[in-house]
């Protein structure tokens, strides 16, 4: 007995004295130093730099509101309040969530790129070309992220190193430092990027044409920050030469124009688009989208309300009008945008805007409610429409005569708009010609948010417009070349038989015309706000053409520095908020 308790005490005390290991055991975890020292790790890190562009930006509304909202082209459906901080500069302050998110997610990309560019030199790849391609991609993505950052927020914190320890102060760097870095990054990208992705199936990786395209865009943007004519010309020239390089080497760079505007945004052409120079991909496989509920929901952001009216039901070809049905969460064109098009000769309007809705149920008899909804005469009650009959027409035309007596429901431009502003009549201010560039008839469900189309963020047409603009505005620029560049796009855009009507002459060329042409060609493509800002027209165009934006101030050309950032740094006074906020 005594022996037993001696054993027990003995074992107890022994264990007590031996103690136990307090080492951490973390087999499921991973650290940057380990993972990013291998080829696979670097490849994964490059992937990280791409992910936010798809999961947080292109395909979602914040970036749309920041790049197309608040311009001359778009206004909230029914002039409602959704995202008014961006779309109408109403209540845009340092604590606005979208500012914070945009800033954070772009800087997150910068940090991945910094880490990759820092670490890749020490990692050997089995295929040197692949390593070069990754260097090129990281350089391209850093420039692309910084272009967004500096254009949205101005002269902010320039970071070129991976975050490994705490630094609690921040300083502003001059805008020229950002542009120097972007241009040198893009030269590295041009030198290193292949023409086709490595591996070739990875459609969506940055390739050589993307780097040229971004360089042209960055160069022409930089003009805005140069004060001397010679410096401006230097960057006009760089922009023009770079854009022309792409235009002149289409076969080598594997990019070309479609024959018609319709083909550019034809859903079937979305995934292997000839004209795209850089695009943000979304997957048709749900599990490959970081936001599986809503990978690309641009398709719901331009819809007019059509369902549950005159018998129409939501279907795949007409798309999900779920946001417009609540009357508060999508974009309608301004009257100005609609009037930019001469639809008699410019087919871009009919190719890219939807006016007509044909009945998509077997038959429908007009009800009193629906008639009242369109201010149609009660006497039409019971009149029948059959499948395929025109049921709704939301047109940019002004219709005269007994427009309410037509067999279908008609909403014309004077119903949708009251002069230059969106009508306050709730019967009509949700019905308008709707942009179709982002349509997705391949949704999993007719009313689904979950679109899977790629978002084209740069296409060849822009190169023609950059070259034209640079040559027009550069001292001693080649106006003939500029005119020809514009005419390439206009000729393609011509309604058959109207080609000659579409052609312009050198005398037509000026900044306002070029911005109009950009509007006609690129509306809804995440570029308008940047174009107006870099040309100094943002404030004046909004004042002139978007009368529903009443609270814009000149200082709104820069976004506010997020309060979250200023709250954390120890020198917020020194760093300072952007002017006006």
């Amino acid at each position: 007995m005594r022996t037993l308790y001696k054993y027990i005490i003995g074992i107890g005390l022994a264990s007590t004295l031996v103690g136990c290991s307090l080492e951490e055991h973390n087999p499921g975890g991973a650290t940057a130093d380990v993972v990013f020292s291998t080829e696979n790790g670097i490849n994964a890190l490059v992937n990280s730099a791409y992910v936010n562009f798809a999961s947080q930006f292109y395909g979602r509304e914040d970036i749309l509101m920041l790049t197309e909202g608040g311009t001359d082209l778009w206004i909230n459906i029914a002039n409602s309040g959704y995202g008014r901080q961006m779309t109408k500069y109403d209540g845009l302050v340092a604590t606005t969530g979208q500012m914070r998110n945009t800033w954070n997610r772009l800087y997150e990309i910068v940090n991945y790129c910094n880490a990759g560019l820092e670490r890749i030199a020490d990692v050997s790849f089995t295929n040197e070309e692949e390593k070069n391609a990754r260097i090129g991609e990281l350089s391209f993505l850093r420039a692309y992220a910084y272009w967004h950052l500096v254009e949205q927020f101005g002269d902010i914190d320039l970071r070129t190193e991976e975050t490994k320890t705490a630094v609690l102060t921040a300083n502003r760097s001059p805008i020229s430092a950002f542009y120097d870095l972007m241009l040198s990054d893009l030269d590295i990208a041009i030198a290193n990027l292949p023409v086709t992705p490595i591996p070739a199936t990875d459609q969506g990786r940055a390739t050589k044409k993307a780097a040229y395209g971004l360089k042209a865009r960055v160069a022409i943007t930089r003009v805005a920050y140069e004060s001397s004519a010679s410096e401006k010309d230097k960057y006009y020239k760089m922009a023009s030469e770079t854009a022309q390089y792409v235009i002149n080497n289409q076969a080598e760079l594997q990019v070309s124009l479609y024959d018609t505007p319709e083909e550019v945004f034809r859903p079937a052409n979305n995934k292997n688009n000839k004209e795209a120079m850089f695009f943000i991909t979304h997957s048709t496989i749900n599990s490959l989208n970081p936001q599986p509920n809503n990978p690309n929901r641009l398709h719901i952001w331009f819809k007019a309300k059509y369902s549950a009216k005159a018998g129409m039901v939501v279907d795949l070809p007409y798309g999900a009008d779920r946001n417009s049905k609540s009357g508060s969460m999508c974009f309608m064109p301004t009257r100005h945008l609609l009037e930019l098009y001469d639809e008699e000769m410019d087919r871009r309007y009919s190719d890219w805007f939807r006016e007509e809705y044909y009945l998509n149920v077997n038959s429908y008899a007009w009800t009193a409610d629906d008639l009242a909804a369109f201010e149609k005469p009660e006497s039409m009650k019971g009149t029948v429409l059959n499948r395929g009959d025109l049921a709704l027409l939301f047109t940019k035309k002004k219709i005269t005569g007994e427009k309410r007596d037509l067999p279908y429901a008609l909403v014309d431009i004077d119903d949708t708009y009251d002069g230059d502003r969106v009508s306050t009549n709730a019967r009509f201010n949700v019905h308008f010609p709707a942009l179709m560039k982002h349509d997705d008839p391949d949704l999993p469900e007719a009313n689904s948010q979950a679109g899977s189309k790629d978002v084209i963020v740069m296409r060849l047409a822009e190169m023609y417009l950059i070259a034209a603009e640079a040559e027009t505005l550069m001292s001693g620029g080649n106006k003939t070349l500029a005119k020809d560049m514009v005419n390439v796009l206009r000729e393609r855009a011509a309604v058959p038989g109207k080609e000659s009507d579409m052609l312009i002459t050198e005398s037509d060329l000026d900044l306002d015309f070029l911005l109009e042409e950009r509007g006609r060609e690129l509306c809804g493509e995440h570029i308008r706000w940047f174009d107006l800002k870099r040309t100094g027209k943002l404030y004046s165009y909004v004042q002139a053409y978007n009368k529903d934006i009443t609270t814009m101030q000149p200082y709104h050309v820069n976004r506010p520095i997020p309060q979250q950032f200023l709250d954390v740094i120890t020198n917020p006074q020194e760093f300072g908020q952007n002017d006006g906020y």
Binding site: H25, A30, A54
Partner: protein
């Protein structure tokens, strides 16, 4: 019975331990069979009778053989029989309320003992860390709750049952859902750490839970009926023996054990109804239509009734024309049934005591298919081996089988348009009550059995074993080995028509989450008590080791063809849809501690302790820390000069101690990466990494709390009044804070980087009062227990001496110097601008450019910096905290003859809560909100809510101020009426006792804020899973 052949002689230790285990098992089987043991005759036997001062037999007196583990209890006739180890021995007679009595005996004596009452009643034993102490010798602040107070209100979670009974212990139920638990804090919050456990629960301010001497179990797993006592250790001197783990206080649960003597059988059962929750009514009818008109009118889009149609979608308009209004809340709410049955059997022989207890609990919540089944089985066994070795086990298995509803059912019911039809003519759920333009029906998941199922299955095992050796007088060595195992499983299936997928996804989603955790602990404890004249010493030394390992695995797939397969065949889903994950978390601790208690004549008491703690989660070089404490007490009433006859007992206590907190998550000092595979280039999937949000800090050390506690215990007027008062002051330094880095440095998957630093300090000061009084003590008895706790919590200092503004949610995550830890920081709302204030309103602006003046109907906000511009940098301030200023428990017991009545009320005062209903105000009425929210119109100049408009609430400047309201409340929590059946009746039925009772729970809550109506504020502001009223009928049987 064959087992009769077993005799103690055969129970030899030189047999293998297997025999011992087998024997333990058999002894349980034997419990109800008293005769089996009556045949057992020890070699040296002493019998006797114990009587009280009046010569009446005393039942339940412990008779123990000194210097051994042998003990027994007297029966109802006061008789006992005890076995001696040798031919002579010394017996000690102890009983609560009586002085100890020692007696030398020899074999075959038959003795009569008369016990002297101890009217100070201070010898009640209180469990403290790694030991027990008589209440009279306590030097620290410990509140003890005994068995009868734990079962007073019928709850399946013991913590819910003791709510309000322990001052300084703040308990709130997390939700009214059948599967929910409780939150608890002792004496406020002191840590800012965001550390979480493996299941994602915040742990930095959680008290340490010790069950039967071992850590690592869940109190909620234990059936209240099985608990002997719950001790709450609050001051640093009491908790310091637990070192870092005890920094937030310690809750010690001791379960009942078998006692020598005839088997005792208890059967308790209750059946009741859950429902009739306090929950506001939503808008309907004209009220609802009027809001939509007002909103459109404010936007210039409504003039008269002709414009009504433009307010509504086609589906809504049709429903409106047909007068199809629906009260979604009433459609989803059901009354649930709750039932609880618990049977326990205990008893034992001289050498073996055991308790076996099993229970079944079933609760049906307020939503259809919200249900919980809970099964628990407990086995406690103690076995003496020879005269100085005792082994035993406490083991328990608890199994939960629950079914949840989707999180948003009730929220949809409260915010969906109140129009449409819930069911069609055949009684089937209509998925889209106002057409596809509207929202999915809150009833979607009730369409059929396979529309959606959310199941949980948890099995928790606590198995503790101990061996205790008492080789010589005053010395004991005890080794405790604990193994706790947790198996959790979440199975979910949502079809394409379920509430979360309808209209969003064309297919179903099935998933399985499996987690398991093992928690091992091994404590070795040496106690040595000895006297030197009038000096008494009690020394304790111990070592403690713990290890926790956690595994999880998750799989999901979408697009299953056959809904009836639920999650049972995830392989049948679309191959491209699979998501799989697994994780592993391990950590361990090693500790040594020492404690010395000294007492001189029981008048002067001193406790000194120190603990050395090591934790794997801290960085190398900072893993170990030391936590000392000292406490002293003076029983003034024992002094010869103390001569107040009204005072029965008066003691003053003073303690100081340090505790620590390693409150970071495992791996919190490592900079890690998380890999993902949910992205690709088009359909080419790839792996990518995101930085973990936490950047490792290799210099991280312990957070330390230093606490003073001054207490006094007072008993007056022959124990009619019992008062305990404690004052305390805890200062926490080197607070572990996850500090946000500038967002230009990047982030981890959209969350700004954070780094743990030891910065800042906080203070908790407070007073706690327990007052027990026997107000009337005649045939009619009235006792009250009053507990009161007030705590003032504030941040003393932060890095750089400036406030830290919440990185993601400024309103609720900011840290403000001089304010409590969880503060709200936003605009100060003064009301609504009224018509007669139009002129004044126009002098204030919503924007820096002064282009947007305030107009009547806008939210009126205080302009704190006087610049006439209301902005969220200069006009935001501290407006309140979630920490209550004080809490109160008020319990009344009335007994008259066979009737007993218990009325129990609690109050929690001075805190704010994040209130879903005020935040749900929908100024355009396109959803719904409570009808009592009174909004401003020209005709109705309300001061509560702003003017309706065709925009979301968050477009109103100052809308955030509606997220928080005063959460103070007073609540009548429980009323129980019991009736004890007459003895004559129970005896005839062969029962020792029987009581019937009716009890009502969550009866009525009254909130201080006028913005909180018809809502039980104990729920803490959420609109989901309200606390339910519960009415039960129960029976307690003693067989």
């Amino acid at each position: 019975m064959k087992t009769q052949s077993l005799t103690p002689e055969k129970w030899r230790l030189d047999k293998s331990l297997v025999v011992v285990a087998f024997m333990l098992l058999l002894s349980i089987m034997l419990l109800p069979v008293q005769q089996a043991f009556s045949a057992v005759q020890p070699q040296y036997q002493v019998t006797g009778l114990v009587l009280d001062e009046a010569g009446q037999p005393l039942e339940g007196v412990t008779v123990s053989l000194t210097n051994s583990t042998v003990s027994t209890l007297t029966d109802q006739d006061g008789a006992f029989s005890i076995r001696l180890v040798a031919s002579t021995g010394s017996l000690l007679f102890t009983a609560v309320g009586y002085l100890d009595h020692a007696l030398e005996v020899k074999a075959d004596d038959n003795v009569n003992v008369s016990l002297t009452p101890d009217d100070r009643q201070l010898d009640e034993v209180v469990v403290i860390g790694y030991g027990t102490v008589r209440k009279r010798d306590l030097t620290g602040s410990v509140t003890s709750v005994k068995a009868e107070d734990i079962v007073r209100s019928p709850a399946h979670n013991p913590l819910e049952a003791i709510q309000g009974q322990v001052p300084g212990l703040d308990i709130t139920r997390t939700s009214g859902s059948a599967t929910s638990g409780v939150n608890m804090n002792i004496r406020g919050k002191r840590s800012l750490s965001t550390a979480e456990d493996e299941y994602g629960n915040a742990i930095a301010n959680n008290p340490l839970v010790i069950i039967d001497g071992m850590q690592g179990g869940n109190i909620s797993d234990i059936h209240p009926q099985d608990i002997e006592s719950i001790e709450v250790l609050k001051d640093a001197s009491s908790t310091a023996i637990y070192g870092s783990q005890g920094a937030n206080g310690v809750i010690i649960v001791t379960t009942k054990r078998g006692k020598t003597g005839a088997p005792k059988i208890n059967f308790n059962t209750y059946v009741g109804v859950n429902g009739w929750a306090q929950y506001p009514e939503m808008m309907t009818g004209d009220n609802y239509v009027q809001l939509r008109r007002e909103a459109a009118k404010a936007a210039g889009q409504w003039e008269d009734l002709d414009d009504d149609q433009t307010l509504f979608t086609a589906g809504e308009w049709t429903a409106l024309q047909n007068n199809q209004w629906v009260n979604w809340k009433d459609e989803v709410f059901k009354n649930g049934i709750v039932q609880n049955h618990q049977l326990s059997i205990s008893g034992g022989t001289d050498n073996t005591t055991a308790l076996l207890s099993g229970g079944y609990y079933r609760e049906l919540g307020s939503l259809k298919n919200d249900a919980l089944d809970k099964f628990n089985l407990r086995l406690n066994v103690d076995q003496n081996i020879g005269s100085f070795i005792k082994v035993g086990t406490s083991s328990q298995v608890t199994h939960y089988d629950g079914s949840n509803r989707a999180d948003n059912v009730l929220w949809r019911a409260t915010t969906n348009v109140p129009l449409g039809l819930p069911y069609d003519d055949e009684g089937n759920v209509i998925l889209w009550p106002v057409g596809r333009e509207g929202k999915v029906s809150p009833l979607a998941d009730e369409a059929n059995e396979y529309t959606a199922q959310h199941r949980i299955a948890n099995t928790n095992l606590i198995t503790n074993g101990f061996a205790e050796i008492k080789p010589f007088k005053g010395f004991s060595f005890r080794s405790n080995l604990g193994v706790n195992l947790f198996y959790h499983k979440n199975n979910d299936f949502e079809s394409e028509n379920s509430i979360d997928r309808a209209g969003e996804f064309p297919n179903s989603l099935a998933s399985i989450l499996n987690t398991n955790k093992s928690f091992l602990s091994w404590d070795n404890i040496i106690n040595y008590n000895f006297d030197a004249g009038q000096h008494n010493f009690a020394l304790t030394a111990l070592s403690s080791w713990t290890q926790s390992k956690f595994n999880s695995s998750y799989m999901e797939g979408t697009g299953q063809l056959v809904p009836e397969q639920l999650w049972h065949n995830i392989g049948a889903n679309d191959k491209d849809s699979y998501i799989i994950r697994s994780s592993y978390i391990q950590n361990q601790t090693m500790s040594y501690a020492f404690r010395a208690n000294y007492s001189y004549q029981g008048k002067y008491l001193l406790t000194i302790s120190n603990r050395w703690d090591g934790a794997s989660r801290l960085s190398v070089g900072n893993k170990w820390a030391m936590f000392p404490s000292v406490a002293a007490a003076w029983r003034m009433s024992d002094e010869s000069w103390f001569s107040l006859p009204q005072v029965d007992d008066f003691k003053i206590r003073l303690s100081y101690g340090q505790t620590g907190n390693s409150g970071i998550s495992p791996y919190g000092t490592q900079s890690g990466l998380t890999s993902y595979a949910n992205a690709g280039f088009q359909d080419q999937g790839f792996t990518y990494y995101a930085y973990n949000t936490l950047i490792g800090n290799r210099d991280l050390g312990w957070e330390r709390s230093a606490s003073w506690n001054l207490g006094a215990d007072l008993r007056l007027f022959a124990n009619r009044i019992n008062l305990v008062v404690d004052l305390y002051d805890t200062k926490t330094t080197d607070i572990l804070l996850p500090r946000t880095l500038p967002t230009s440095m990047g982030s981890g998957n959209n969350t700004p980087f954070q780094i743990y630093q030891n910065i800042g300090s906080s203070q908790n000061r407070g007073i706690e009062v327990v007052l027990n009084t026997r107000n009337i003590d005649k045939a009619f008895k009235w006792n009250t227990d009053f507990t009161f706790g007030a705590n003032k919590e504030k941040i003393l200092d932060l890095i750089d001496g400036r406030d830290i503004i919440g990185a993601t949610t400024r309103e609720s995550e900011s840290l403000l110097i001089g304010r409590p830890l969880k503060s709200f920081y936003t605009f100060k709302r003064l009301g609504i601008w009224q018509l007669d204030e139009a002129e004044e309103a126009a002098t204030y602006f919503k924007d820096a450019d002064k282009t947007q003046p305030f107009v009547p109907g806008d939210i009126k906000l205080a302009d704190l910096n006087g610049d006439n511009i209301i902005d969220d940098e200069n006009d935001v301030t501290y407006i309140g905290t979630t920490s209550p200023r004080w809490t109160l428990g008020f319990n009344n017991n009335f007994t008259y003859k066979n009737f007993d009545l218990n009325v129990y009320a609690i109050a929690r005062w001075g805190q704010m809560m994040e209130y879903d209903f005020t935040a749900s105000y929908d100024p355009q009425g396109k959803g719904n909100h409570p009808a009592y929210l009174d909004y401003w119109t020209e005709e109705n100049p309300s001061n509560d809510f702003p003017r309706p408009s065709l925009t979301n609430f968050y477009n109103y400047l100052g809308y955030q101020t509606y997220n928080t309201v005063d959460g103070s409340y007073i609540k009548l929590k429980t009323v129980t009426l019991g009736y004890r059946l007459p003895k004559a009746f129970t005896e005839r039925a062969g029962l020792n006792g029987a009581r019937l009772y009716l009890s009502g729970n969550n009866l009525f809550s009254w909130a201080r804020s006028p913005l909180v109506q018809n809502y039980d504020a104990e729920r803490g502001g959420s609109a989901k899973s309200p606390l339910l009223r519960q009415f039960v009928f129960g029976i307690n049987l003693d067989l």
